[in-house]
Symmetry: C2
Subunit: 248 residues, 2 copies
Amino acid sequence: MQGREREVGNFEILPTRCARCGLQELCLLCSMALQSGSQAEETIYSCRELKRAARLYRSGDAFNSIYFVRRGFFKTLKRRGDGRAQVTGFFMSGELLGMDGIAPNIYTCDAVALQDSEACVFSYVRLAEFSRRNESVQRQFHKAMGSEIERVQGLVALLGTRRAEERIALFLLNLSQRFAARGYSPSEFVLPMTRDDIGSYLGLTIETVSRMLAMFQGAGLIRVESRHIQIRDSAGLRQTAGWTHSTK
Amino acid sequence: MQGREREVGNFEILPTRCARCGLQELCLLCSMALQSGSQAEETIYSCRELKRAARLYRSGDAFNSIYFVRRGFFKTLKRRGDGRAQVTGFFMSGELLGMDGIAPNIYTCDAVALQDSEACVFSYVRLAEFSRRNESVQRQFHKAMGSEIERVQGLVALLGTRRAEERIALFLLNLSQRFAARGYSPSEFVLPMTRDDIGSYLGLTIETVSRMLAMFQGAGLIRVESRHIQIRDSAGLRQTAGWTHSTK
DNA sequence: CGCGCCTTTGAAGGAGCTCAATTTAGGTGG
DNA sequence: CCACCTAAATTGAGCTCCTTCAAAGGCGCG
Protein backbone atom coordinates (compact mmCIF):
# COMPACT_ATOMS: atom_id res chain seq x y z
CA MET A 1 0.00 0.00 0.00
CA GLN A 2 2.93 2.33 0.48
CA GLY A 3 3.58 4.66 -2.42
CA ARG A 4 6.30 3.41 -4.71
CA GLU A 5 8.75 5.95 -6.04
CA ARG A 6 8.25 7.05 -9.57
CA GLU A 7 10.98 5.65 -11.79
CA VAL A 8 11.60 8.37 -14.24
CA GLY A 9 13.97 6.33 -16.32
CA ASN A 10 11.18 4.07 -17.44
CA PHE A 11 8.59 6.72 -17.72
CA GLU A 12 8.81 7.15 -21.44
CA ILE A 13 9.85 3.70 -22.37
CA LEU A 14 6.77 1.86 -21.28
CA PRO A 15 4.04 3.44 -23.36
CA THR A 16 6.25 3.77 -26.38
CA ARG A 17 7.32 0.18 -26.47
CA CYS A 18 3.96 -1.22 -25.59
CA ALA A 19 2.29 0.89 -28.23
CA ARG A 20 4.40 -0.78 -30.89
CA CYS A 21 3.89 -4.26 -29.55
CA GLY A 22 0.59 -5.11 -31.19
CA LEU A 23 -0.30 -7.52 -28.42
CA GLN A 24 -2.01 -5.12 -26.08
CA GLU A 25 -5.11 -7.16 -25.65
CA LEU A 26 -3.10 -10.12 -24.45
CA CYS A 27 -0.60 -8.36 -22.31
CA LEU A 28 -0.80 -8.05 -18.57
CA LEU A 29 1.64 -5.21 -18.61
CA CYS A 30 -0.35 -3.10 -21.03
CA SER A 31 -3.41 -3.65 -18.99
CA MET A 32 -1.46 -2.38 -16.03
CA ALA A 33 -0.18 0.58 -17.94
CA LEU A 34 -3.71 1.46 -18.92
CA GLN A 35 -5.02 0.99 -15.42
CA SER A 36 -2.45 3.26 -13.93
CA GLY A 37 -3.30 5.98 -16.40
CA SER A 38 -0.98 8.09 -18.46
CA GLN A 39 1.50 8.37 -15.63
CA ALA A 40 2.50 4.76 -16.06
CA GLU A 41 4.46 5.07 -12.90
CA GLU A 42 4.27 1.42 -12.15
CA THR A 43 6.65 0.36 -14.80
CA ILE A 44 7.52 -3.24 -14.23
CA TYR A 45 8.76 -3.59 -17.70
CA SER A 46 11.95 -4.82 -19.20
CA CYS A 47 12.72 -6.80 -22.28
CA ARG A 48 15.06 -9.59 -23.29
CA GLU A 49 16.18 -10.62 -26.71
CA LEU A 50 17.25 -14.20 -27.21
CA LYS A 51 19.00 -15.95 -30.03
CA ARG A 52 17.79 -19.35 -31.13
CA ALA A 53 18.66 -22.04 -28.56
CA ALA A 54 19.24 -19.47 -25.83
CA ARG A 55 17.57 -20.10 -22.52
CA LEU A 56 15.13 -17.62 -21.03
CA TYR A 57 15.43 -19.37 -17.69
CA ARG A 58 16.69 -22.68 -16.41
CA SER A 59 15.46 -25.26 -14.02
CA GLY A 60 16.73 -24.30 -10.59
CA ASP A 61 16.99 -20.57 -11.25
CA ALA A 62 15.42 -18.36 -8.63
CA PHE A 63 11.88 -17.45 -9.58
CA ASN A 64 11.54 -13.73 -10.01
CA SER A 65 9.73 -13.14 -13.24
CA ILE A 66 6.90 -14.12 -15.48
CA TYR A 67 7.72 -13.74 -19.16
CA PHE A 68 5.52 -12.56 -21.97
CA VAL A 69 6.51 -13.74 -25.44
CA ARG A 70 6.55 -10.65 -27.58
CA ARG A 71 8.11 -12.22 -30.66
CA GLY A 72 9.41 -15.64 -31.56
CA PHE A 73 8.82 -19.10 -30.19
CA PHE A 74 9.80 -20.99 -27.05
CA LYS A 75 9.64 -24.48 -25.70
CA THR A 76 9.68 -25.49 -22.06
CA LEU A 77 11.19 -28.75 -20.94
CA LYS A 78 11.37 -30.65 -17.72
CA ARG A 79 14.68 -32.35 -17.06
CA ARG A 80 14.78 -35.76 -15.51
CA GLY A 81 17.44 -37.18 -13.24
CA ASP A 82 18.85 -39.26 -16.07
CA GLY A 83 19.74 -36.90 -18.95
CA ARG A 84 16.31 -37.41 -20.52
CA ALA A 85 13.93 -34.49 -20.78
CA GLN A 86 10.31 -33.93 -21.69
CA VAL A 87 9.00 -30.97 -23.62
CA THR A 88 6.03 -29.63 -21.67
CA GLY A 89 4.92 -26.82 -23.90
CA PHE A 90 5.41 -24.57 -26.89
CA PHE A 91 4.82 -20.85 -26.48
CA MET A 92 4.29 -18.25 -29.12
CA SER A 93 3.82 -14.50 -29.11
CA GLY A 94 1.22 -13.31 -26.67
CA GLU A 95 1.65 -16.25 -24.33
CA LEU A 96 3.06 -16.28 -20.81
CA LEU A 97 5.98 -18.32 -19.55
CA GLY A 98 7.47 -19.07 -16.17
CA MET A 99 4.48 -20.03 -14.08
CA ASP A 100 6.10 -23.34 -13.26
CA GLY A 101 8.22 -21.36 -10.79
CA ILE A 102 5.45 -19.84 -8.71
CA ALA A 103 4.91 -22.53 -6.12
CA PRO A 104 8.44 -23.80 -5.52
CA ASN A 105 9.89 -20.30 -5.96
CA ILE A 106 12.44 -21.65 -8.41
CA TYR A 107 11.81 -22.59 -12.00
CA THR A 108 11.36 -26.30 -12.57
CA CYS A 109 11.54 -26.17 -16.35
CA ASP A 110 13.96 -24.76 -18.87
CA ALA A 111 12.55 -22.26 -21.35
CA VAL A 112 14.43 -22.35 -24.63
CA ALA A 113 14.04 -20.07 -27.64
CA LEU A 114 13.30 -22.00 -30.82
CA GLN A 115 13.89 -18.91 -32.94
CA ASP A 116 15.42 -15.54 -32.32
CA SER A 117 12.88 -14.18 -29.90
CA GLU A 118 11.96 -11.37 -27.60
CA ALA A 119 10.27 -11.60 -24.21
CA CYS A 120 8.92 -9.00 -21.82
CA VAL A 121 9.96 -9.54 -18.24
CA PHE A 122 7.44 -9.05 -15.44
CA SER A 123 8.72 -8.85 -11.94
CA TYR A 124 6.51 -11.25 -10.03
CA VAL A 125 6.70 -9.16 -6.89
CA ARG A 126 5.53 -6.04 -8.65
CA LEU A 127 2.94 -7.96 -10.58
CA ALA A 128 1.58 -9.25 -7.29
CA GLU A 129 1.72 -5.78 -5.82
CA PHE A 130 -0.14 -4.35 -8.74
CA SER A 131 -2.75 -7.03 -8.73
CA ARG A 132 -3.46 -6.26 -5.09
CA ARG A 133 -4.32 -2.73 -6.05
CA ASN A 134 -6.20 -3.50 -9.22
CA GLU A 135 -8.94 -6.04 -9.48
CA SER A 136 -8.86 -6.42 -13.23
CA VAL A 137 -5.13 -7.02 -13.29
CA GLN A 138 -5.61 -9.56 -10.55
CA ARG A 139 -8.32 -11.27 -12.51
CA GLN A 140 -6.17 -11.31 -15.61
CA PHE A 141 -3.27 -12.81 -13.73
CA HIS A 142 -5.48 -15.48 -12.21
CA LYS A 143 -6.80 -16.23 -15.66
CA ALA A 144 -3.29 -16.59 -16.98
CA MET A 145 -2.49 -19.15 -14.30
CA GLY A 146 -5.82 -20.84 -14.85
CA SER A 147 -5.12 -21.06 -18.56
CA GLU A 148 -1.82 -22.72 -17.87
CA ILE A 149 -3.62 -25.28 -15.70
CA GLU A 150 -6.12 -25.83 -18.50
CA ARG A 151 -3.42 -26.18 -21.10
CA VAL A 152 -1.48 -28.78 -19.16
CA GLN A 153 -4.64 -30.69 -18.27
CA GLY A 154 -5.46 -30.82 -21.95
CA LEU A 155 -2.03 -32.28 -22.57
CA VAL A 156 -2.65 -34.88 -19.89
CA ALA A 157 -5.88 -35.88 -21.57
CA LEU A 158 -4.07 -36.11 -24.88
CA LEU A 159 -1.25 -38.23 -23.48
CA GLY A 160 -3.59 -40.40 -21.50
CA THR A 161 -6.17 -41.27 -24.10
CA ARG A 162 -5.05 -40.50 -27.66
CA ARG A 163 -3.35 -42.64 -30.25
CA ALA A 164 -0.29 -41.41 -32.13
CA GLU A 165 -2.36 -40.45 -35.16
CA GLU A 166 -4.74 -38.37 -33.07
CA ARG A 167 -1.97 -36.71 -31.11
CA ILE A 168 -0.22 -35.49 -34.23
CA ALA A 169 -3.45 -34.32 -35.79
CA LEU A 170 -4.45 -32.45 -32.65
CA PHE A 171 -1.01 -30.93 -32.44
CA LEU A 172 -1.20 -29.59 -35.98
CA LEU A 173 -4.71 -28.27 -35.50
CA ASN A 174 -3.74 -26.58 -32.28
CA LEU A 175 -0.81 -24.84 -33.93
CA SER A 176 -2.94 -23.90 -36.88
CA GLN A 177 -5.48 -22.29 -34.62
CA ARG A 178 -2.90 -20.38 -32.65
CA PHE A 179 -1.28 -19.10 -35.82
CA ALA A 180 -4.68 -18.05 -37.10
CA ALA A 181 -5.40 -16.17 -33.87
CA ARG A 182 -2.26 -14.13 -34.55
CA GLY A 183 -3.23 -13.27 -38.08
CA TYR A 184 -1.05 -15.85 -39.79
CA SER A 185 -2.32 -18.44 -42.17
CA PRO A 186 -4.00 -21.36 -40.42
CA SER A 187 -3.31 -23.62 -43.38
CA GLU A 188 0.33 -22.98 -44.06
CA PHE A 189 3.10 -22.49 -41.55
CA VAL A 190 6.61 -23.43 -40.61
CA LEU A 191 7.21 -25.60 -37.58
CA PRO A 192 9.76 -23.91 -35.37
CA MET A 193 10.54 -27.11 -33.47
CA THR A 194 12.30 -30.32 -34.44
CA ARG A 195 10.57 -33.67 -34.82
CA ASP A 196 12.34 -34.60 -31.64
CA ASP A 197 10.64 -31.76 -29.79
CA ILE A 198 7.27 -32.76 -31.17
CA GLY A 199 7.84 -36.37 -30.24
CA SER A 200 8.88 -35.50 -26.73
CA TYR A 201 5.91 -33.19 -26.30
CA LEU A 202 3.45 -35.81 -27.53
CA GLY A 203 5.03 -38.79 -25.84
CA LEU A 204 6.08 -40.36 -29.14
CA THR A 205 9.35 -41.19 -30.84
CA ILE A 206 10.78 -39.09 -33.60
CA GLU A 207 10.20 -41.95 -36.04
CA THR A 208 6.52 -42.17 -35.22
CA VAL A 209 6.12 -38.43 -35.72
CA SER A 210 7.81 -38.69 -39.08
CA ARG A 211 5.73 -41.66 -40.15
CA MET A 212 2.46 -40.06 -39.13
CA LEU A 213 3.24 -36.91 -41.05
CA ALA A 214 4.13 -39.03 -44.07
CA MET A 215 0.88 -40.91 -43.64
CA PHE A 216 -1.17 -37.72 -43.43
CA GLN A 217 0.52 -36.54 -46.58
CA GLY A 218 -0.25 -39.82 -48.28
CA ALA A 219 -3.89 -39.40 -47.29
CA GLY A 220 -3.95 -35.91 -48.78
CA LEU A 221 -4.58 -34.26 -45.44
CA ILE A 222 -1.43 -32.18 -45.40
CA ARG A 223 1.68 -31.44 -47.38
CA VAL A 224 4.98 -31.74 -45.56
CA GLU A 225 8.26 -30.42 -46.73
CA SER A 226 10.69 -30.64 -43.89
CA ARG A 227 9.38 -28.03 -41.45
CA HIS A 228 6.97 -26.45 -43.85
CA ILE A 229 3.42 -27.65 -43.29
CA GLN A 230 0.41 -27.07 -45.46
CA ILE A 231 -2.99 -28.22 -44.28
CA ARG A 232 -4.97 -29.33 -47.29
CA ASP A 233 -7.98 -30.94 -45.67
CA SER A 234 -8.61 -29.53 -42.24
CA ALA A 235 -11.95 -31.31 -41.93
CA GLY A 236 -10.24 -34.61 -42.62
CA LEU A 237 -7.55 -33.72 -40.12
CA ARG A 238 -10.15 -32.91 -37.49
CA GLN A 239 -11.78 -36.24 -38.15
CA THR A 240 -8.45 -38.00 -37.79
CA ALA A 241 -8.00 -36.16 -34.52
CA GLY A 242 -11.16 -37.80 -33.22
CA TRP A 243 -13.44 -34.79 -33.71
CA THR A 244 -13.97 -33.53 -30.18
CA HIS A 245 -13.56 -29.88 -31.09
CA SER A 246 -9.97 -29.80 -32.24
CA THR A 247 -9.37 -26.85 -29.97
CA LYS A 248 -7.22 -28.67 -27.49
CA MET B 1 -12.17 -1.81 -0.95
CA GLN B 2 -15.58 -0.92 0.37
CA GLY B 3 -16.30 -2.20 3.84
CA ARG B 4 -18.18 -5.46 3.76
CA GLU B 5 -20.95 -5.91 6.27
CA ARG B 6 -20.18 -8.11 9.15
CA GLU B 7 -22.07 -11.35 8.84
CA VAL B 8 -23.00 -12.14 12.36
CA GLY B 9 -24.42 -15.50 11.50
CA ASN B 10 -21.01 -16.80 10.60
CA PHE B 11 -19.16 -14.93 13.26
CA GLU B 12 -18.90 -17.76 15.70
CA ILE B 13 -18.84 -20.59 13.26
CA LEU B 14 -15.59 -19.83 11.56
CA PRO B 15 -13.06 -19.98 14.36
CA THR B 16 -14.81 -22.83 16.06
CA ARG B 17 -14.93 -25.06 13.04
CA CYS B 18 -11.49 -24.20 11.83
CA ALA B 19 -10.05 -24.81 15.25
CA ARG B 20 -11.28 -28.37 15.09
CA CYS B 21 -10.12 -28.97 11.57
CA GLY B 22 -6.52 -29.92 12.22
CA LEU B 23 -5.45 -28.67 8.82
CA GLN B 24 -4.73 -25.09 9.74
CA GLU B 25 -1.30 -25.00 8.25
CA LEU B 26 -2.66 -26.03 4.86
CA CYS B 27 -5.79 -23.99 4.80
CA LEU B 28 -6.23 -20.71 3.00
CA LEU B 29 -9.26 -19.92 5.05
CA CYS B 30 -7.54 -20.32 8.37
CA SER B 31 -4.77 -18.13 7.22
CA MET B 32 -7.39 -15.56 6.34
CA ALA B 33 -9.08 -15.93 9.67
CA LEU B 34 -5.78 -15.39 11.40
CA GLN B 35 -4.89 -12.44 9.25
CA SER B 36 -8.14 -10.71 9.92
CA GLY B 37 -7.64 -11.08 13.63
CA SER B 38 -10.12 -12.24 16.19
CA GLN B 39 -12.96 -10.45 14.49
CA ALA B 40 -12.96 -12.93 11.64
CA GLU B 41 -15.42 -10.72 9.92
CA GLU B 42 -14.41 -11.93 6.50
CA THR B 43 -16.02 -15.27 6.80
CA ILE B 44 -16.06 -16.85 3.40
CA TYR B 45 -16.63 -20.19 4.87
CA SER B 46 -19.17 -22.86 4.27
CA CYS B 47 -18.97 -26.58 4.23
CA ARG B 48 -20.37 -29.41 2.16
CA GLU B 49 -20.72 -33.04 3.05
CA LEU B 50 -20.74 -35.53 0.22
CA LYS B 51 -21.57 -39.20 0.09
CA ARG B 52 -19.42 -41.52 -1.95
CA ALA B 53 -19.92 -40.99 -5.69
CA ALA B 54 -21.49 -37.58 -5.16
CA ARG B 55 -20.18 -34.75 -7.28
CA LEU B 56 -18.69 -31.65 -5.71
CA TYR B 57 -18.99 -29.87 -9.03
CA ARG B 58 -19.56 -30.81 -12.65
CA SER B 59 -18.03 -29.84 -15.91
CA GLY B 60 -19.96 -26.83 -17.19
CA ASP B 61 -21.08 -25.56 -13.79
CA ALA B 62 -20.50 -21.89 -13.20
CA PHE B 63 -17.21 -21.33 -11.43
CA ASN B 64 -17.78 -19.70 -8.08
CA SER B 65 -15.75 -21.60 -5.58
CA ILE B 66 -12.47 -23.21 -4.75
CA TYR B 67 -12.84 -26.25 -2.51
CA PHE B 68 -10.65 -27.41 0.31
CA VAL B 69 -10.81 -31.11 1.12
CA ARG B 70 -11.35 -31.34 4.82
CA ARG B 71 -12.00 -35.04 5.03
CA GLY B 72 -12.24 -37.86 2.50
CA PHE B 73 -11.00 -38.33 -1.01
CA PHE B 74 -11.89 -36.96 -4.43
CA LYS B 75 -11.03 -37.59 -8.03
CA THR B 76 -11.33 -35.11 -10.87
CA LEU B 77 -12.10 -36.22 -14.38
CA LYS B 78 -12.24 -34.59 -17.74
CA ARG B 79 -15.07 -35.76 -19.97
CA ARG B 80 -14.49 -36.22 -23.65
CA GLY B 81 -16.98 -35.73 -26.45
CA ASP B 82 -17.42 -39.46 -26.83
CA GLY B 83 -18.49 -40.79 -23.41
CA ARG B 84 -14.85 -41.53 -22.48
CA ALA B 85 -13.29 -39.69 -19.58
CA GLN B 86 -9.85 -39.25 -18.13
CA VAL B 87 -9.08 -38.99 -14.43
CA THR B 88 -6.84 -35.96 -13.99
CA GLY B 89 -6.18 -36.09 -10.30
CA PHE B 90 -6.80 -37.53 -6.85
CA PHE B 91 -7.23 -35.16 -3.95
CA MET B 92 -7.04 -35.87 -0.28
CA SER B 93 -7.53 -33.85 2.88
CA GLY B 94 -5.69 -30.56 2.87
CA GLU B 95 -5.68 -30.25 -0.90
CA LEU B 96 -7.50 -27.73 -3.06
CA LEU B 97 -9.97 -28.46 -5.83
CA GLY B 98 -11.66 -26.43 -8.51
CA MET B 99 -8.84 -24.45 -10.04
CA ASP B 100 -9.67 -25.86 -13.46
CA GLY B 101 -12.53 -23.38 -13.48
CA ILE B 102 -10.56 -20.18 -12.99
CA ALA B 103 -9.71 -19.29 -16.56
CA PRO B 104 -12.86 -20.34 -18.41
CA ASN B 105 -15.08 -19.28 -15.50
CA ILE B 106 -16.83 -22.64 -15.61
CA TYR B 107 -15.49 -25.90 -14.31
CA THR B 108 -14.04 -28.14 -17.00
CA CYS B 109 -13.73 -31.22 -14.83
CA ASP B 110 -16.05 -33.20 -12.62
CA ALA B 111 -15.00 -33.61 -9.00
CA VAL B 112 -16.31 -36.85 -7.52
CA ALA B 113 -16.10 -38.05 -3.93
CA LEU B 114 -14.46 -41.46 -3.66
CA GLN B 115 -15.52 -41.78 -0.05
CA ASP B 116 -17.93 -39.95 2.18
CA SER B 117 -16.18 -36.62 2.32
CA GLU B 118 -16.34 -33.06 3.50
CA ALA B 119 -15.13 -29.97 1.68
CA CYS B 120 -14.84 -26.34 2.69
CA VAL B 121 -16.21 -23.94 0.13
CA PHE B 122 -14.30 -20.74 -0.65
CA SER B 123 -16.06 -18.09 -2.63
CA TYR B 124 -13.60 -17.18 -5.33
CA VAL B 125 -14.75 -13.59 -5.37
CA ARG B 126 -14.19 -13.16 -1.68
CA LEU B 127 -10.94 -15.05 -1.85
CA ALA B 128 -9.77 -12.67 -4.54
CA GLU B 129 -11.02 -9.73 -2.51
CA PHE B 130 -9.19 -10.93 0.53
CA SER B 131 -6.01 -11.62 -1.31
CA ARG B 132 -6.03 -8.05 -2.58
CA ARG B 133 -5.98 -6.84 0.96
CA ASN B 134 -3.54 -9.34 2.32
CA GLU B 135 -0.23 -10.15 0.77
CA SER B 136 0.32 -13.44 2.51
CA VAL B 137 -3.10 -14.75 1.55
CA GLN B 138 -2.36 -13.68 -2.00
CA ARG B 139 0.97 -15.47 -1.95
CA GLN B 140 -0.66 -18.58 -0.57
CA PHE B 141 -3.32 -18.53 -3.25
CA HIS B 142 -0.73 -18.09 -5.97
CA LYS B 143 1.21 -20.97 -4.51
CA ALA B 144 -1.87 -23.13 -4.56
CA MET B 145 -2.37 -22.42 -8.26
CA GLY B 146 1.33 -22.90 -8.89
CA SER B 147 1.24 -26.24 -7.12
CA GLU B 148 -1.59 -27.35 -9.31
CA ILE B 149 0.46 -26.42 -12.37
CA GLU B 150 3.38 -28.36 -10.95
CA ARG B 151 1.25 -31.36 -10.16
CA VAL B 152 -0.21 -31.58 -13.64
CA GLN B 153 3.17 -31.02 -15.28
CA GLY B 154 4.50 -33.89 -13.24
CA LEU B 155 1.67 -36.00 -14.57
CA VAL B 156 2.55 -34.96 -18.12
CA ALA B 157 6.14 -36.04 -17.57
CA LEU B 158 4.91 -39.33 -16.20
CA LEU B 159 2.56 -39.97 -19.09
CA GLY B 160 5.08 -38.87 -21.65
CA THR B 161 8.14 -40.79 -20.57
CA ARG B 162 7.35 -43.60 -18.13
CA ARG B 163 6.65 -47.23 -18.70
CA ALA B 164 3.67 -48.93 -17.08
CA GLU B 165 5.80 -50.42 -14.35
CA GLU B 166 7.27 -47.05 -13.45
CA ARG B 167 3.92 -45.30 -13.55
CA ILE B 168 2.37 -47.67 -11.06
CA ALA B 169 5.40 -47.57 -8.78
CA LEU B 170 5.43 -43.77 -8.83
CA PHE B 171 1.72 -43.71 -8.18
CA LEU B 172 2.05 -45.90 -5.10
CA LEU B 173 5.02 -43.94 -3.78
CA ASN B 174 3.20 -40.67 -4.30
CA LEU B 175 0.19 -41.90 -2.37
CA SER B 176 2.41 -43.32 0.33
CA GLN B 177 4.11 -39.98 0.76
CA ARG B 178 0.87 -38.05 0.91
CA PHE B 179 -0.56 -40.42 3.48
CA ALA B 180 2.62 -40.08 5.52
CA ALA B 181 2.36 -36.29 5.40
CA ARG B 182 -1.05 -36.63 7.01
CA GLY B 183 0.13 -38.85 9.81
CA TYR B 184 -1.06 -42.11 8.32
CA SER B 185 1.17 -45.07 7.65
CA PRO B 186 3.26 -44.68 4.52
CA SER B 187 3.60 -48.43 4.17
CA GLU B 188 0.04 -49.59 4.58
CA PHE B 189 -3.07 -47.98 3.22
CA VAL B 190 -6.33 -48.57 1.44
CA LEU B 191 -6.78 -47.32 -2.09
CA PRO B 192 -9.96 -45.29 -2.26
CA MET B 193 -10.14 -45.53 -6.05
CA THR B 194 -10.88 -48.40 -8.41
CA ARG B 195 -8.33 -49.98 -10.74
CA ASP B 196 -10.25 -48.28 -13.48
CA ASP B 197 -9.59 -44.90 -11.92
CA ILE B 198 -5.91 -45.68 -11.52
CA GLY B 199 -5.67 -46.88 -15.09
CA SER B 200 -7.38 -43.83 -16.45
CA TYR B 201 -5.18 -41.55 -14.38
CA LEU B 202 -2.00 -43.27 -15.51
CA GLY B 203 -2.98 -43.79 -19.12
CA LEU B 204 -3.14 -47.56 -18.74
CA THR B 205 -5.83 -50.20 -18.93
CA ILE B 206 -7.33 -51.80 -15.90
CA GLU B 207 -5.71 -55.09 -16.87
CA THR B 208 -2.25 -53.59 -16.96
CA VAL B 209 -2.74 -52.03 -13.55
CA SER B 210 -3.84 -55.35 -12.16
CA ARG B 211 -0.93 -57.20 -13.75
CA MET B 212 1.66 -54.72 -12.53
CA LEU B 213 0.38 -54.91 -8.98
CA ALA B 214 0.50 -58.69 -9.19
CA MET B 215 4.02 -58.46 -10.55
CA PHE B 216 5.13 -56.17 -7.72
CA GLN B 217 3.66 -58.58 -5.27
CA GLY B 218 5.48 -61.45 -6.93
CA ALA B 219 8.71 -59.51 -6.62
CA GLY B 220 8.08 -58.95 -2.92
CA LEU B 221 7.79 -55.20 -3.29
CA ILE B 222 4.25 -54.94 -2.02
CA ARG B 223 1.35 -56.97 -0.76
CA VAL B 224 -1.97 -56.45 -2.47
CA GLU B 225 -5.30 -57.58 -1.19
CA SER B 226 -7.96 -55.95 -3.26
CA ARG B 227 -7.70 -52.28 -2.28
CA HIS B 228 -5.46 -52.86 0.67
CA ILE B 229 -1.82 -52.12 -0.14
CA GLN B 230 1.20 -52.86 1.96
CA ILE B 231 4.58 -51.60 0.83
CA ARG B 232 7.18 -54.15 1.84
CA ASP B 233 10.25 -52.86 0.03
CA SER B 234 10.00 -49.16 -0.59
CA ALA B 235 13.62 -48.95 -1.76
CA GLY B 236 12.92 -51.60 -4.36
CA LEU B 237 9.77 -49.80 -5.34
CA ARG B 238 11.67 -46.56 -5.76
CA GLN B 239 14.18 -48.37 -7.92
CA THR B 240 11.38 -49.79 -10.04
CA ALA B 241 10.03 -46.27 -10.37
CA GLY B 242 13.30 -45.23 -11.97
CA TRP B 243 14.76 -43.52 -8.91
CA THR B 244 14.45 -39.86 -9.78
CA HIS B 245 13.29 -38.88 -6.30
CA SER B 246 9.96 -40.67 -6.12
CA THR B 247 8.39 -37.43 -4.98
CA LYS B 248 6.42 -36.82 -8.10
C1' DC C 1 31.84 -27.90 -49.83
C1' DG C 2 31.86 -30.90 -46.13
C1' DC C 3 30.39 -31.81 -41.65
C1' DG C 4 26.84 -32.45 -38.26
C1' DC C 5 22.31 -32.59 -37.25
C1' DC C 6 17.82 -33.50 -38.62
C1' DT C 7 14.75 -36.43 -41.06
C1' DT C 8 13.02 -40.33 -43.50
C1' DT C 9 12.25 -45.11 -44.29
C1' DG C 10 12.52 -50.08 -43.39
C1' DA C 11 12.33 -54.31 -40.67
C1' DA C 12 11.81 -56.68 -36.39
C1' DG C 13 10.47 -56.96 -31.67
C1' DG C 14 7.94 -55.99 -27.56
C1' DA C 15 5.05 -53.49 -24.22
C1' DG C 16 0.68 -52.83 -23.42
C1' DC C 17 -4.09 -53.36 -25.44
C1' DT C 18 -8.20 -56.03 -26.66
C1' DC C 19 -11.14 -59.65 -26.03
C1' DA C 20 -12.87 -63.21 -23.16
C1' DA C 21 -13.68 -66.02 -19.20
C1' DT C 22 -13.52 -66.46 -14.02
C1' DT C 23 -13.15 -65.10 -9.51
C1' DT C 24 -13.84 -61.97 -5.89
C1' DA C 25 -15.75 -58.25 -3.31
C1' DG C 26 -19.31 -55.21 -1.73
C1' DG C 27 -23.88 -53.93 -1.06
C1' DT C 28 -28.93 -55.33 -0.47
C1' DG C 29 -32.85 -57.58 0.85
C1' DG C 30 -34.89 -61.56 2.68
C1' DC D 1 -26.61 -63.95 8.75
C1' DC D 2 -26.81 -65.74 4.47
C1' DA D 3 -28.03 -65.59 -0.44
C1' DC D 4 -28.09 -62.94 -4.12
C1' DC D 5 -26.61 -59.64 -7.44
C1' DT D 6 -23.86 -56.42 -9.55
C1' DA D 7 -19.56 -54.12 -9.92
C1' DA D 8 -14.69 -54.74 -9.50
C1' DA D 9 -10.64 -57.36 -10.15
C1' DT D 10 -7.82 -61.13 -11.90
C1' DT D 11 -5.87 -63.98 -15.37
C1' DG D 12 -4.88 -65.75 -19.97
C1' DA D 13 -4.10 -65.59 -25.06
C1' DG D 14 -3.45 -63.23 -29.19
C1' DC D 15 -2.70 -59.12 -31.55
C1' DT D 16 -1.36 -54.33 -32.71
C1' DC D 17 0.50 -50.14 -32.38
C1' DC D 18 4.41 -48.11 -31.39
C1' DT D 19 9.24 -48.57 -30.29
C1' DT D 20 13.86 -49.98 -31.20
C1' DC D 21 17.57 -50.64 -34.09
C1' DA D 22 19.72 -49.68 -38.40
C1' DA D 23 20.95 -47.26 -42.50
C1' DA D 24 20.65 -43.84 -45.82
C1' DG D 25 19.31 -39.28 -47.46
C1' DG D 26 18.76 -34.21 -46.96
C1' DC D 27 19.31 -29.70 -45.23
C1' DG D 28 21.65 -25.83 -43.21
C1' DC D 29 25.58 -23.58 -41.89
C1' DG D 30 30.27 -22.72 -40.96
